[in-house]
């Protein structure tokens, strides 16, 4: 094993650049996907089929197809449409599709949004019946109930499931290496592999980086749970 090759400055900086890109993708996708998920989750549990059905379709398609296909559809599929190509040098809207980072981030955002919507919707549905009754008895409107009682509670209860989703997203960012010109951790490892023919060293390093990041995220979520799910923690005495 020639791990010294990995520790050469130019290779280390390659991994560093990859790590920054992976983190940027992760944060961007989680923020956009998370923010979008809140209103969509409320729509998902609505009794009105005209509102809930489209959201159901959205989550069904996005959770039922591989993320890789979604990335390819946006980068290669949309990127090759004449309609968009004709406009993307001029229009601000389509200009973004030219950038590989944007295409990857968009695909990841939509994907995490779909999973988060289902997670949140499930938590909303599981809200204790008594709490909602009490809110109605106090005279809170449907909207106020949702905003002040149901959603905060549902978000807290989704925390363990959401931690899984965040870790899944971190792993999914490795697919960014499928888009040309986007260098993430996996892309850096593949580059080193094809330059030096050292598969073990390159991919073990990449795996180690991801494992460390995963552990960091797990620790972060454990702290979050201790704060926001204090009422559900196991009794220690």
């Amino acid at each position: 094993m020639e791990f010294e090759v990995i520790f050469r400055p130019e290779n280390l900086s390659l991994f560093w650049e990859g790590m920054l890109n992976s983190l940027a993708l992760l944060v961007a996708s989680l923020v956009v996907g998370g923010v979008l998920a809140l209103p969509l989750a409320v729509a998902r549990v609505s009794d009105n089929l005209l509102i809930s059905r489209p959201v159901w379709l959205f989550t069904y398609v996005l959770r039922g197809t591989p993320l890789l296909i979604q990335v390819y559809l946006i980068y290669y599929g949309l990127g090759q449409m004449e309609y968009i190509q004709a406009r993307w040098d001029d229009s601000w809207l389509w200009k973004w599709f030219k950038e590989p980072f944007f295409c990857a981030a968009l695909a990841f955002s939509l994907n995490t949004c779909a999973y988060t919507v289902e997670l949140l919707a499930g938590a909303i549905r599981d809200t204790a019946h008594g709490e909602i009754e009490a809110a109605q008895a106090c005279g809170l409107s449907r909207w106020a109930t949702m905003r002040r009682i149901v959603l905060p509670s549902a978000m807290r209860r989704s925390l363990p499931g959401y931690s899984n989703e965040v870790i899944m997203m971190l792993h999914s960012t490795s697919l960014a290496s499928a888009v040309p010109a986007l260098l993430d951790i996996t892309g850096a490892a593949r580059s080193i592999y094809s330059d030096f023919y050292l598969p073990f060293e390159a991919f073990i390093t990449a795996g180690a980086i991801y494992a460390v990041m995963t552990l960091a995220l797990v620790a972060l979520f454990r702290l979050a749970e201790r704060r926001w799910l204090a009422h559900l923690q196991a009794r220690t005495h």
Partner: protein
């Protein structure tokens, strides 16, 4: 009990082993089928192209069966050393760097590369005139080595892709300003197509042996000296008896791709 499972294990191993034919009854040939018109696939998925036809002709000469194995370009040499196939006949240039890992036969064609960019960009082909432009190249190719070596330093953004036809897709999409590619390949695979209308060659034909080596040959493992010998002889034979010319005329009528 243990002896029995060892025996069963050995039998299973033996059954899944294909005997490496030292008499070379079958040659597994690696191709990257994204390099029209040298190596590509029909819509039904059958490999075809100049490289494929040459490979078939060579196999016929040495009385072996050609089995084509598809491989992504930058995994070509690792795959050969890992014994996933026995030969690479896919427009692989003979360079000093590659000769350290594998052996090559003599060449079976030689064509230069050139820079291709959008016609509305004024350039004389010098690295400085392309500063700030985005050039796409095939990962692991001699063109990539050239671009990284000469263009990157002059301020050109070089983007490696895993297949040359993905480069053309992004050129068509406007994500790239141009590419560095084999003259014949980019002509047949891009410039002659409707997508290539707004593009053209700039600068001189690129032949620096430092990057581009000396022609295109058949790559084999260093240990397979016998395969290299029979392939070399076969190349000479088909050059002599006109089959090489026939295949060349089929894809490139009137063009000399044997080179100097």
């Amino acid at each position: 009990m243990i002896k029995k499972s060892l025996l069963l294990g050995a039998v299973a191993l033996a059954m899944s082993v294909s005997v490496s034919a030292k008499e070379w009854k079958e040659v597994r040939v690696a191709i990257d089928a994204t390099y029209k018109p040298f190596t590509f696939k029909t819509p039904e998925g059958k490999p075809t192209g100049f490289d494929v036809d040459i490979a078939q002709a060579l196999c016929d000469e040495i009385k072996a069966k050609c089995v084509f194995v598809e491989q992504v370009w930058d995994g070509m040499i690792p795959g050969l050393t890992a014994k996933k196939y026995d030969a690479i006949i896919s427009s692989m240039s003979i360079t000093e760097e590659r000769k350290r890992q594998v052996d090559f036969t003599g060449r079976y064609y030689k064509t230069p590369s050139k820079i291709v960019i959008k016609s509305d960009i004024k350039s004389d082909g010098s690295p400085a005139s392309l500063k700030g432009k985005k050039i796409g190249v095939l990962k692991g190719s001699t063109q990539e080595k050239y671009a990284m070596g000469e263009l990157k330093g002059a301020g050109v953004t070089v983007v490696p892709y895993e297949a040359q036809d993905q480069v053309y897709l992004d050129m068509k999409a406007g994500r790239l300003d141009g590419t560095v590619a084999d003259i014949i390949e980019v002509q047949g695979g891009f410039l002659d197509t409707p997508d290539g209308k707004a593009y053209g060659f700039v600068g001189q034909p690129l032949l620096m042996p430092k990057y581009f080596g000396d022609g295109v040959g058949v790559a084999v493992r260093k240990a397979d000296k016998d395969l290299k010998e029979v392939m070399d002889k076969a190349i000479k034979t088909i050059r002599g008896n006109g089959s090489w010319q026939k295949i060349s005329d089929k894809y490139f009528p009137g063009v000399d791709i044997w080179g100097q």
